[in-house]
Symmetry: C2
Subunit: 406 residues, 2 copies
Amino acid sequence: MEQRRYFEQLDAVDPLRNIRAQFDLHDDRIFFNGNSLGPPPLGTAKRLEEAMRRWRDDMNAGWWDHRWLQLPTLTGDRIGGIIGAAPGQVVVGESTSVNLFKLLCGAVELQSGSERSVILTDRDNFPSDLYIADGITRYVHRQATVRRVPVDEIIDQIDSDVAVVTLSHVDYRTAQLLPMRRINERAHEAGALVLWDLSHSAGVVPLELDAAGTDLAVGCGYKYLNGGPGAPGYMYVAHRLLPRFEQPITGWLGHTRPFDFTGDYQPDPGIARLTTGCPPLLSLLALDEGVTLTAQADPAAVRAKSVALSEEFIALAGARLARYGVEVTGPVDSAQRGSHVSLHSEAAEPLAKGLAARGFHLELRPPDLLRFGLAPLYIRHVDVFDCVAAMEQLLAEETADSAPRQ
Amino acid sequence: MEQRRYFEQLDAVDPLRNIRAQFDLHDDRIFFNGNSLGPPPLGTAKRLEEAMRRWRDDMNAGWWDHRWLQLPTLTGDRIGGIIGAAPGQVVVGESTSVNLFKLLCGAVELQSGSERSVILTDRDNFPSDLYIADGITRYVHRQATVRRVPVDEIIDQIDSDVAVVTLSHVDYRTAQLLPMRRINERAHEAGALVLWDLSHSAGVVPLELDAAGTDLAVGCGYKYLNGGPGAPGYMYVAHRLLPRFEQPITGWLGHTRPFDFTGDYQPDPGIARLTTGCPPLLSLLALDEGVTLTAQADPAAVRAKSVALSEEFIALAGARLARYGVEVTGPVDSAQRGSHVSLHSEAAEPLAKGLAARGFHLELRPPDLLRFGLAPLYIRHVDVFDCVAAMEQLLAEETADSAPRQ
């Protein structure tokens, strides 16, 4: 247990330990699937209780008296603090896929004066992002087409036909982290826009959207922003694009004066023009609490711990699991990796089951992939050690039970 | 106080009083704006506490283990019970405006083989519904146009150019209730589809969508369904249209097998094809609780009490307030009225203020309209009496304070 003590000592001096203390974590379970759903902050239950009281006592006056109506932009600005966006460029909307639909429609619309009609994307992008792009070419911008290419060919494929490049900043399977600034620059040279999906990077990977010259972005609220199950996602539109940015779902809350009830739609001059209808307040308040906690963490400390956890995980897996045929997949260079690591193993299914029985929860991608989210805000160094040790024990038992390997 | 006792006696035998007992109502305030936001059911706080526990203990496994993923269709079917829709035709989605966008796009798409290109609507429809229709003709179906006409001309305006008629079942200002079946029949004779917005009728007006031959509908979750601030709305697509109904926001949860992560979008064969991304779970659970409570009420009793409250309100206002220049607006015939009543008064603003100080909350539409939602599930007969009595007193005081009228 000499080695375990080393990891415990890392945790004892972890500059993020005061953030961890503000989560409502299960005593006996370690969740390595914060990349799917982050845990509840301690403050969330209180926010919901307060909302229930206000709902009963003030009813719809809460939209004004408690600033519920402003929350999409207030929470948006808080998210802006996490992703390097100055105020007034981020707003909370619907699910990530609906938000992506709005921004991708708007981006193609912005390019409609040109001959550009291609939406360029990674063929291995998150499937919903691919479906949304296809749907737009089928139902909205019928002259547009989607060009899917391998991710390492993206930069070379940005040509004068491309209207928009749309990419995940961190790949949901491999954790590959793309060079945002470089891709923005190449696209802008070619006259294309870029729309980033930050779902697997915001909250764990340093982001400087403004400084990187980013045009547009969407992201998820329930992963590393700890906003709760199905928390609404958010949209970013750079200030320079906002005045002429139009999205197709022109509902009343995107109107500049929604409560005048005028007959014609006049978009809000600011980022609220991206919104449509009443936000789901209870879920939005939970998101705001998650975002507020996440924003407290120093981004440099978050990145440093994320890299450390990943490198510890990879090193331990290499030293202890490789002999059982378990392989680390994805980028080996930390500079090109987000905050999750995947293992390939023929025994992935029994491993996931055995780990769950020991209190380690992670994501199984049948038939042979295990995905471990290493969320620096609450995963400890010792959790990584214990989890790899548990895998080693499970594999050793399995090997002892069955015929010896080779 | 003789007369007040009569109203108390009505409340004592109200068949809906056991439903009222299941709301978490403020002791000293009467909310006549349930047509904007219904009050919390007593069970909602418990549902949220349970969800918080499950979020902490089970994290994303809750989507399967607690059937969170099925909730949009489960709650949808419960709403179906309220609006007269057999199972499998209703699903909870995003805000009403986003849902309307999906269905209206899909309806025009369904008619795309024909020469029909007009979206026909009431020029006084809820503004967001008008904005959404305009946005569709501007950004999606660019060949389509919106034709806005006075509501009593709707039936005559359904001609061979009309692709879709879209209407509010109950007008948000006047409470005018439209003849759904008759308009459906006339539209179908002419080859048009009809899309209804049930926001101001579902939960207070008897609805038989299937029996009325309805094609499509959307509705709001936070008014008479008591789903909480910004609760997600719902969509209805009749079984007969569903197999060929396509909507443009093709996200992963509308896929027939979302967790296969295949590269191509294959819509779910059922109503789930209307969905897009992860639902905002906390808000969705609150909606489910509101719907479950609302569904317990006998629709005939709801309608009977709704009509009684409205007629009492109108009679009392006529007897006690007319002399102060207060007039009831909207339909006089209860058969053509939903469950709210509006008063016109030059003193609307001071009246609303004075009523609020006495614990009666309602909606002021400046400069001269007061809107009273008469939600039968929790508004008592005596509340109507007390509110009109308070108005009378306020008006009498004001008259005594100022110069005599005329």
